[in-house]
């Protein structure tokens, strides 16, 4: 599988990353070599192997339904560059 610059730009857009032409070119090379490397796995026959979700053999840990009163407003908003009356303030998202 080979990526082209269009695909690189699309991925960048989806990831909200702005790339210069130079950077896109570098990334194209890097990502193609990553794909080449991963593609070596195709040499292994996996027809009878179940997909592996995780290398750990443990089971999904679960917790009880207990709510903790954390009153997080001040702490959670501390890093926010803009806020108003307990709300995060962000540039207008139009819909």
């Amino acid at each position: 599988m080979k990526l082209d610059t269009n695909t690189i730009n699309k991925i960048a857009k989806l990831a909200r990353i702005r790339l210069s032409e130079e950077e896109a070119k570098d990334l194209l090379k890097d990502m193609n070599s990553i794909l080449d490397w991963v593609e070596q796995l195709n040499e292994v026959n996996t027809d009878s192997v179940k997909p592996l979700a995780n290398i750990s053999s443990s089971i999904l840990p679960q917790r009880k339904d207990e709510a903790k009163d954390i009153n997080s407003s001040d702490e959670i908003l501390k890093n926010s560059p803009d806020k108003l009356e307990g709300y995060f303030a962000v540039p207008k998202v139009v819909e």
Binding site: N54, R63, L77, E85, G86, Y87, A89, V93
Partner: protein, 491 residues
């Protein structure tokens, strides 16, 4: 009953599928232990996990899993012993992680079905494709400031069950019945509080139109509707719009739409489809969810009697019509109230139809007038049962009973006490009624003559006059008999 829309040129069929988002009624969120309480101070229930601080890991809430399984059982659906949590990637200000943890390829619940009931007594199956667990997003306020959006993350991470239907729905009414039924099942199960105003239950509507018998048309999705009324309005508007576009030779573009509740119209969302490349992949922070059969069987035993079972019981044991039974069972509180009336006295079982009438027309109108929920009704189920019994035993007439009911509603008194206090007992004593009838005939001699010369309709007048004289207490049947016999003797 035809569901077809008449266009200018052809008849069209609307094809609808619903995605219902139901918040799990839990204390804490799906992957963190912050509270789910509604209406708290903004951002006061946001843990570091919910805020997606680096290094934080999700730990799943066992209770939420159980509620999803129970809901699946209630939807007569297949429970999957193996399911997987995936990341659904998109950017939005109310989604701090940059992805929503959801289930894509392997949902926790598979195919099921719900039954909707129509007024004419018929019913229809709506097939369920799946139910999966996912995180809710935060809330954005767009209308406070022209340049800013304000974000509250309290809702972010609350567990949602997304229930997806097959496109089996054919009209706005069917969609309304379907979501009401789902809501009713959720509320019987106690897995969601069903509060649409607070957004605990909301729906996305997929809608297309076609000529009957043809392939499905291109569909549009109307997002985030939070009342049954809006769902119906949106469907009616959108199907009409699509018909007009097609009849004018246009094509329907696959679009995501928003419904404006004040204009009653739909419009396309501004964000383009390219943004909808969610790049799902299994969340590496979460292992697959495995549920063994034993656990599912244990949960099955906790399932209460559901609306359809109750409906069946009402039809079979109480001889109610399918539709009456479905109306009665739609709201668990109403149905519980009805059950309590019938339970309060053995003889009421055979009068269940009269009980239904007194409950759904008389008591409901009093409750509606005062805006009181049935579980706060000033009239207890036992007392309403006693009132019905008094009518059945001819102690009071149905007409008087209405006044007694109002008095019971206002004073919380027993019906017997009110009847005693106000002297409302029905007069069944023939000689008392005879006296009244004779007085009436005496006072209206002219009318009697007219009656005798063939104006039969005047009988109603005499009945009315006599009833009035008895202050409504005369037993109508006896009164009628006496009147007729007295009049015939005058010939």
């Amino acid at each position: 009953m035809s569901n077809l829309i008449k266009g200018k040129k052809y008849e069209w069929e609307t094809v609808i599928g619903l995605e219902i988002h139901a918040q799990v009624k839990s204390n804490s969120k799906l992957f963190s232990n912050s509270s789910t309480a509604f209406g708290s101070k903004p951002n006061s229930q946001v843990s570091l996990v919910d805020a997606a601080m680096p290094g934080m890991l999700p730990v799943i809430n066992k209770y939420c899993i159980e509620q999803a399984v129970k809901t699946g059982i209630g939807l007569k659906a297949k429970i999957n012993n193996y399911s997987v949590f995936d990341r659904k990637n998109y950017f939005y200000a109310d989604l701090p992680q940059g992805y929503q943890i959801s289930q894509y390829k392997y949902p926790i619940v598979g195919e099921g079905k719900v039954i909707i009931d129509f007024k004419d007594g018929s019913s229809k199956d709506i097939r369920i494709v799946r139910l999966h667990l996912e995180q809710d997003a935060g809330k954005s306020l767009h209308d406070q400031n022209p340049k800013k959006t304000y974000v509250d993350l309290n809702r972010s991470g609350v567990a949602l069950m997304e229930i997806v239907s097959e496109p089996d729905i054919r009209s706005a009414d069917e969609a309304g019945l379907y979501i009401s039924k789902i809501r009713s099942i959720l509320m019987y199960l106690g897995t969601c509080d069903g509060n649409m105003q607070e957004g605990s239950l909301r729906a996305d509507v997929n809608i297309s139109v076609r000529k009957p018998g043809y392939e499905y048309g291109t569909r549009c999705e109307i997002k985030n509707l939070n009342s049954i009324k809006f769902i119906k309005q949106a469907i009616n508007y959108e199907s009409q719009r699509q018909v007009e576009v097609l009849e004018e030779g246009g094509v329907i573009e696959q679009n995501t739409l928003l419904f404006n509740t004040s204009t009653g119209k739909t419009r396309p969302m501004r964000s383009k489809e390219e943004a909808h490349d969610y790049r799902y992949f299994p969340d590496p922070d979460l292992l697959p969810l495995e549920i063994d059969q034993e656990e599912i069987n244990k949960l099955k035993k906790t399932i209460p009697e559901l609306p359809d079972d109750r409906k069946k019981r009402y039809v079979e044991d109480y001889n109610l019509s399918n539709y009456d039974a479905s109306v009665l069972t739609a709201d668990k509180l109403v149905s519980d109230y009805f059950d309590n009336i019938i339970k309060s006295d053995k003889t009421l079982k055979e009068s269940s139809k009269i009980v239904v009438n007194w409950l759904t027309s008389e008591l409901f109108s009093l409750l509606n007038e005062k805006n009181i929920e049935i579980n706060n009704s000033p009239i207890t189920p036992e007392n309403l049962g006693r009132l019905v019994k008094l009518i059945k035993e001819d102690i009071i007439s149905g007409k008087i009973a209405k006044d007694v009911l109002v008095e019971m509603f206002n004073t919380k008194e027993d019906p017997e006490k009110i009847i005693e206090r106000k002297g409302l007992k029905q007069v069944t004593n023939t000689s008392e009624i005879e006296i009244i009838v004779e007085e009436v005939l005496e006072e209206n001699k002219k009318m009697v003559e007219q009656y005798l010369s063939g104006k039969d309709k005047l009988l109603g007048f005499f009945v009315g006059q006599s009833m009035q004289k008895s202050k409504g207490k005369a037993n109508p049947k006896i009164l009628n008999e006496i009147l007729k016999s007295k009049l015939s003797k005058k010939h």
